[in-house]
Symmetry: C2
Subunit: 267 residues, 2 copies
DNA sequence: CGACCGGTTGAAGTATATCAAGTACGGTGG
DNA sequence: CCACCGTACTTGATATACTTCAACCGGTCG
């Protein structure tokens, strides 16, 4: 019962969108192929899917028929453990490849759940080798994307490796900030698409601890936080918090509500 | 000083081995290609390297000239953090792909250090696209291997996600056991190639805590431990310890040296 | 309106980091 | 050969930061 309550309600999994400008070209662009090479003849058009928030793109344990590339929106990749705890293993958004990890195992290793209105391209697994054969560019792009996923996983590991909860959260935020910068959005002010509970799960701490760490950082003047909207005020100090794998930051945040603290206020 | 003392002495990085039976075929087998398809004409022979324990295969931050496939022995992939702490991100052995994560970034993201006498095949990066073009089988094998690496990374994440140190260690051991089984060695009794400190780093706990957890498990009769040699006595109970992400195992190990405890003894 | 969900905050117990000492092993040099 | 040192591992004592349980607030939805 707990397990089923933490899993998002599995509404209609996905509804296909009929037409679009040029799916294939867009897909290649998502995979990081420069437009010049994108024209290499791939056989079929990729399938485009739309998902509502909470909808699941793939189910843990299900057969892998498609792999997906995120076109818009964002997702969380989770595994439900025996005790019903929903372990978040990754967040994914534009350009990320989903489901490939399950390919070598035959079955999906994670459930992928949309965090907002999202669209993805689906590539039929049985067509993959054909596509590889037809397009060198595609083949290489796929590998590069896989490499990026690997880098991402390492980054996540490094995040969880810190012992202190504040350090973990600081790393998460800096990582998010860089992620936003990479796609041309503001690295200073962004919206977290996931709940505190999801962040906590990825970070491997209790969700209350995430809340507290946020509060601590706000009080220290590093951040301004309004629900899921985050503004980074002091990059310098935040970066300092990401350092120090062992026992907290170099310059630990004040534990008690020290007097002069820039509370979150209306602009 | 701390940093340099934790990094293994960078002895002669690697010495090439001149000849061997059929390197290309063996390389393909390592990547998981069935022998039947392995003959597809690849241009050049892969480079074979031998490394002594403590030797570093690649340096964090160095340019990526080669990617490597482990032929024998084992490695740890580490990143040295600003405070000099050596963060272990992965262990690698036979069949594992090393250095690919750095490809999309241009520079190695981790230093790779041999844990024992080891050999690897090196593939020149500038030849990769050529090899891809020449051999479909190679191309596909590379992708599958990348997929496996991804699965591995997820597994590691799941390991670190547990809050309790015992749970983490239990997952690590079960994972190791499965790993041994996959390659046809005994899943019950095996030799850990890495130090307690390395394990602790991967698990994200203090090395003293790893020691204590081992002792606890031995006292509970789950294991027999002799230095780096581990024998699993009670798979059932060990598996129970891997469950329970939150707060320890279902059936917590006795904290105090409870009277009837099967100590490690000579056979 | 009441229920529920997401988020925040408080209080208490506990697991783990940290500091520190002590053992065992292997290598090195006298 | 033995003293010496460094490394790996273990074990103990203490402090602290985290989990957990609990209450509370502000939204949204039926």
């Amino acid at each position: 019962m707990f397990a089923s309550s933490t899993i998002a309600p599995s509404c209609s999994p996905a509804t296909p969108l009929p037409r679009s400008p040029d799916p294939l070209q867009e897909l290649m662009r998502l995979l990081g192929v420069p437009d010049s090479q994108a024209s290499c003849g791939l056989p079929n058009q990729p399938l485009k899917l739309r998902l509502a928030p909470g909808a699941t793109l793939s189910h843990e344990g299900a057969e892998v028929d498609f792999i997906h590339v995120v076109r818009s929106g964002s997702f969380k990749c989770v595994r439900v453990l025996e005790d019903g705890y929903e372990q978040v293993l990754n967040f994914a958004d534009r350009g990320d490849l989903l489901g490939f990890d399950g390919l070598c195992r035959g079955a999906h290793l994670t459930s992928v759940i949309a965090l907002e209105d999202s669209t993805v391209y689906g590539l039929a697994v049985h067509e993959l080798s054909l596509m590889r054969a037809q397009s060198q560019a595609f083949c290489q792009a796929l590998q590069m994307t896989l490499g990026r996923q690997l880098v991402r996983a390492e980054r996540t590991l490094e995040m969880m490796a810190a012992v202190s909860a504040e350090t973990r959260l600081a790393r998460f935020l800096v990582w998010q900030s860089e992620h936003m910068a990479e796609r041309g959005e503001s690295p200073r002010r962004f919206l977290l698409r996931m709940s505190r509970r999801d962040i906590a799960s990825l970070l491997g701490v209790a969700h209350e601890t995430v809340s507290r760490s946020f509060t601590l950082m706000v009080r220290a003047g590093l951040l301004r936080v309004d629900n899921r909207e985050v503004e980074i005020l002091d990059f310098e100090h935040l970066a300092a918090c990401t350092r120090g794998t062992r026992g907290g930051c170099d310059d630990p945040l004040p534990r008690s509500p020290a007097g002069s603290a820039p509370l979150l206020d209306a602009a």
